[in-house]
Each structure stands twice: as C-alpha cells, then as structure tokens.
C-alpha cells in the first residue's frame, strides 16, 4: 500500500515532497527509508520509456528549433554562425511570410466555424429517427477515412475547368466554366471547401457520441414545458455539447495549421502565393530552398502561435464550459 502510494506520487510528478520526506523528518525509521527510495526509483523507471520518447520526439526538437533559429544556415564548408535575431528580422521583411500568415489566418477563420457548424448539423440530423440512418452516417464519415492526398487528387478533378464536377453542375444552369484553382480570387476558397469536407465527418462522430449520451428526459421535460425545438437546441443541447465543442475546436485549430497535403497536391501555394499556408511555406524554405535556419525561425513562430491559441482556449473557454 505504502509503496504503491509513492509510485502514484512519482507518476504525478509530485516528487519534491515524496523523496526528501523520510530523510528530512526522520520519523519513518531506517528500515522504511530505503524501501521508499526503491519504490520511488521503481516509479521513475516505469515512467522512463514514455519520458524518453516525449523528450526525444517533442521537447528536444522544439528546443533545438529555437536554438537553430538563432544561427545561420550551414552550407557546404561554411558552418553555422550565431546571428542572434537576424533571422527574425529577415522574416519581418519577408512579404511571402506575411502573405502565408495572412492566408493561414483567413483559412483557419473560415475552416474552423464552417467545419464545426457542419459537423454539428450532420450529427443532430443523423441522431434523429430517419430512414437509412446507418448509410447516412457512413456517408458523412467516409471522407475521414480517405487519406488527404487521395482527397486532394479527387478534388483536383472536381475543380478542373470545363469537365470538372463543379463546372458540369453549374453548366446545367448555363453558368460559364470557371478556372477554380487558377484564379487568385477562388483558389483559397476551393482549398477551404476541401478541408471542411474532409474534417466535418470526423468531428460529427464526437458530436454524435455526445448527443447519444444526453438523457432523453431533458427533451421530454422540455416538450412538456412547451419549448420549441430550436429553443431546446439553443438553451439545452448546445450548452451541454460545449465540452465536445472545446475538444473539436482544439483539433480544428491544430488541423488548420497542420494539414497541408491538399496544397502540395492541388496548388503548390499558387497562383502567386495566394494559397501558401504557413506550414507549406516552412516546407518550401526547409526542403526546397534548404535554408534550414530560416525554416526553424518560421517554425518557432508557428509553435508560438499554436501555444498561444491553446492557452487561450484552455484559460478562457474552459471557464465558460459547463461539464456534467
């Protein structure tokens, strides 16, 4: 019992009190102290595999990125030199960086609300008693299981001018063909549509799960009180779904900065950078221009941006959410 308690302490990372206590107080006696230490080591050993993986693949790369962003890019015989904040200075003067950041903000600001709204609508719909419900759920979920590369290649042909799906459908109504991806006014919107289509089904599953856990008594009580369906949704269902919405929101934000496969396949950031997102630009700088130091600098900005957004979500939104 004693030992397992210490392990629990260790696992919680609460070692500052657990370790010195027996030595400092000296009340536990000589026989207990080594046992506690052993148990403590035992706890840390259990933690070790996970900790090693976390450090190697998460913490070390993040720290190394920050350090690299303060050095110049090594080339051939020329090794990296400390340049301080020069890379950040160059970034502030780089028009493509600002373009990519602006695009990414516009992209996120469209994709996130659209995806969540669509996911919620679909979930509420397929939660009701309608004919062919399993097929509808399957159809909504299908885009999620497709790899983004495949999705992008399919949509590339949807958008192709003339014989693409969209132009053929619009052609029925006599609307002229349009070069969807080749026009700087429509290219980003086309990519937003792909992202919404891809992710909405995935988030629908979470909403559906939350909806099914909701007690039917609530709906019955509301019906007795004479609440309209919209009023019930607005005042009961939606607030109860807020924990799910927070989870979905976190994921949607991450996805809007992380998923760029469709850009690589469909536009390569073109025409003239109108669809360049931040991560795509980082890839270009890092693996096409081989300017690794500048790529590290851009990555630091992306990391800071995501950390800031995550903090905001948990600190501000969390307080307003009612957990059951």
């Amino acid at each position: 019992m004693h030992a397992s308690e210490t392990i629990a302490h260790g696992l919680e990372g609460d070692d500052s009190r657990a370790l010195p206590a027996p030595f400092a107080a000296g009340t536990a006696g000589a026989a207990v102290a080594p046992m506690r230490v052993t148990a403590h080591i035992h706890g840390w050993l259990l933690l070790l595999p996970a900790a090693v993986l976390l450090v190697i693949f998460t913490h070390y790369p993040a720290v190394a990125t920050i350090i690299d962003s303060l050095f110049s890019t090594p080339r051939g015989h020329r090794s990296a030199a400390f340049v301080g904040l020069d890379n950040y200075q160059a970034m502030l003067e780089d028009p493509v960086f600002w373009r990519a950041l602006g695009n990414n903000i516009a992209y996120a600001a469209s994709v996130i609300p659209l995806t969540i709204a669509l996911a919620l609508t679909m979930a509420v719909w397929v939660n009701g008693k309608i004919a062919g419900r399993p097929f509808l759920r399957l159809a909504f979920f299908a885009p999620t299981v497709l790899p983004m590369i495949a999705v992008a290649n399919i949509w590339l042909f949807f958008y192709s001018p003339g014989y693409g799906l969209f132009d053929q459908m619009l052609g029925v109504f006599g609307i002229a063909t349009h070069n969807w991806l080749g026009d700087e006014h429509t290219a980003l919107a086309c990519l937003i549509a792909v992202a919404v289509w891809k992710d909405a089904g995935f988030f629908m599953i979470f909403y559906l799960a939350a909806l099914q856990q909701m007690s039917p008594q609530l709906a019955e009580a509301a019906a007795i009180e004479g609440a309209s369906r919209w009023y019930f949704f607005r005042r009961v269902t939606f607030p109860l779904l807020m924990p799910t919405t927070l989870f979905v929101l976190v994921n949607a934000i991450i996805n809007s900065f992380r998923l760029i496969d469709h850009i690589v396949v469909m536009t390569q950031g073109g025409p003239a950078n109108t669809t360049a997102l931040l991560l795509f630009y980082i890839y270009e700088v890092g693996f096409k221009f081989w300017d690794t130091a500048y790529a590290a600098t851009l990555t630091v900005v992306l990391l800071a941006l995501l950390a800031f957004l995550a903090l905001g979500q948990f600190l501000i939104l969390d307080r307003r959410i009612h957990y059951q």
Binding site: L156, S160, N273, W290
Partner: protein, 440 residues
Amino acid sequence: MRHATKQWLIPIVGAVMMVLTAGAMTSGAMAKDIELSFYYPVAVGGPITKIIDGYAADFEKANPGIKINAIYAGTYQDTLVKALTAFKSGEPPDIAVLLSTDMFTLIDEDAIAPFDDLLKTDADKTWAKSFYPAFMENSQTGGKTSDEKTWGIPFQRSTIVMFWNKDAFKAAGLNPDKAPDTWDELVADGGKLTTRDAAGNVSQWAVEIPSTGFPYWLFQGLTTANDVRLMNSAGTQTYFDKPAVIQALQYWVDLSRKDKIQPTGTIEWGTTPKDFFERKTAIMWTSTGNLTNVRANASFPFGVAMLPAHQGRGSPTGGGNFYFFKKMTGDERDAAFKFVKWMTTPERAADWGIATGYVAVRPDAWETPAMKKYVADFPAAAVARDQLKYAVAELSTHENQRVTKALNDGIQAALTGTKTPEQAMKDAQQEAVRILRPYQ
C-alpha cells in the same frame, strides 16, 4: 576492489574482439565486392522500377564484384530531400539521378564531386563528349574561380513539345497535318480552333500552356523562341526584366486575355493532358515524357510538333542527370563510373528512350537499329530529337529553387492579372538579384 569490478569486462572485450576479427576476415575474403547505393527518382513498383532493376542486374552480371543497390525514392523533389538529408547525416548515397537543375544546389552544399578527374583515357574523354551539347549545358559549370567542370551526366532528359488534335484541326477547317509553326500562326489558327456555344461559353480552347508547379520551364519555351536567355551559365545572374522576356510573357498573357484562345488564370500541369484527351483544348504544350501517355490515351489522331518559333526556335531541356556524391573511395568511384558509362552506351540510351519516352541522350543512340525501327513506326518520337539543336539549358542558378520561385510567382501574377507582365518581371528580377547577391 577496483581491479575486481573490471573483471566482468574481460569476456565482453573478448567477444567484441572476436566479432571484429570475424568482420575483418569476412571483408577480407570479399574485398573485391563493392556496394554502391543508387538513389533513383520513382515511386516503388511500376514499370520503371522493373527496367532499372533489370539494368542493375545485367550490370552486376557483367561486372562481378560490384553490387548496385537501387533505392526508389519517389519524386525528384523527394529524392533530392532524401539524398541531401542522408548527406547531412553523414551517409550520402553514392550515385543519384536528380534534376539537372539541382546542380548548383548540390555544389553549394558541397555534396557532389565532378567527373573530370575520372576521365583518364581517350575513350573516356570521347564518351564525355558523346552527349547532345544542349544536355551538357545543365551538366557543366565553372563556378566563380575554377575552370569548367562536368558535374552531371545526362540520363533521363526531356524537352517541351506541342501536341495537337488532328480532328479538331479538321473541324476548324485547318490542315490537320500541319501545326502552327510561328507565334502568329498559333494566334491565327487559335481563333478558328476556339469554339463557343450559343451562350458564348467556350467548349474547346485552342491552346493550353500549363502554369502550375514549374511555369518557368514552359515560359522558357517562349523566351527561347524570343531569342533571350534567362540566366548566365555560372548561375549567378538572371535576366528576367529584359524587354524580350517581358514581351514573351506579354504574348503568353495575351493568349488568354487579348486573343482569348487559352483559359484565363493558371493552368494546372497535371490535368492538361486530361484536358487534351477530353477535347477541352486542341493544342497542349507538355513534356516529351508524356509521349507514351498520349499515345495510349488519345482517342483521336494527334500530332507532335516543335514549339512555334518567333525570333528563333527553341525549348529548354529538362529531366535528370547522374551525380556522384562525395565520400566515395577511389575503388568505389571507379566502380560507379563504370556503372554510369554502362548505363549510357548508345544501345542502352536507345533502349531507355524507347521504353520511357525520354529523349535518348546521345546522337549515336538514334543510329542504333532498335531506335531506327522505333522512329520508323512512330515518327513523333524524333521531334524532340530534332528540336534539340535549338534547345537551351533549363533555368538553374545558385539558390535555384528560391530564384525559380521568384520567377514562378511573377509569371503566375501576370497570368492571373494581378500584375502587368512588366511589373511582374521587374519584381522577379529584383528578388533574384537580392537572392543572388552573395554569389556576385
């Protein structure tokens, strides 16, 4: 006590030594076996990997003691990323086929070694001169201080050609066997080839020059015809804002905006062949690498022509070269050199060209019986060869991808109408000058 703790080391040291001795004995016994890693840009599986595997096996049979490990690394871009990442971690490939335009990038990273000191015998020197000069333009450079060196050996090379739909020409009242030969003819024929329905919507465009991915390459098909080069051979200067360059871009933009015979906005490289098969465009500009694809998928008779001329004729070359990475020892380099020579004999160059659609890289390959028979059956294959006398090097400079991106962005901005051709090229040149400043 100290002595005692070390005792457990003895069996371990013994075991390590035994392993080492065994290793030394094995490597001693097979001292002549040289293993070479060979990065090749294609996705695993498919017909191309089979051909390369076949070549490697034949070479190993003819040259016992040399082993070729072909590593299929994906697209050109993927292969470059993998090769350079491996190089930076200290384990570069020995041989790689990478874009000819990656030459400056690879030199700047100090990743590759030139071929010149391997050319010892007269036979080797003749071999090095046996390739089409147009292909060698992207394979040799002097750099700033040293004299000219050969850094790449042409292997799978291509140029841009024009495919036309003979049915569409017939329907428009044009001679189906004659493609437009000049810029003016393209515009004149284009007016007839563009068909519109009652509402004025275009059902067939006359021409598509793709402008995504690498628009600068297709743009060179226009600038070369306008008798202007985009860069110097040292890769340190660009000429994007020369009047002839701006004029070439103006012509391209006008095809869409003034003459209205080409779709507006950028045109997707990947779907252009599909547009051609679907009769959405009567003419397309694309790589000779699409020859086999078009032959298999076009449901109508088609022709292959050189790009139309203006001040002159011309097209850039494209495609991949053999590179030798540094860190190979003397024996390994000799073996690798043997392999590259073996891969580029006239017979093999002809075989490779017929199997893939790439342009056979040396004139004598076209004199082989196999190639002669192929050209007799399929004369279109020779168009690319005949165009080679007008071909120039594909745009390649130091900081290559960054400079080409500046030009690509400018071209796309002009095609979408965000900037005038003049403004777009001035901005691109300014950006290129800034990027290339350290190399002046």
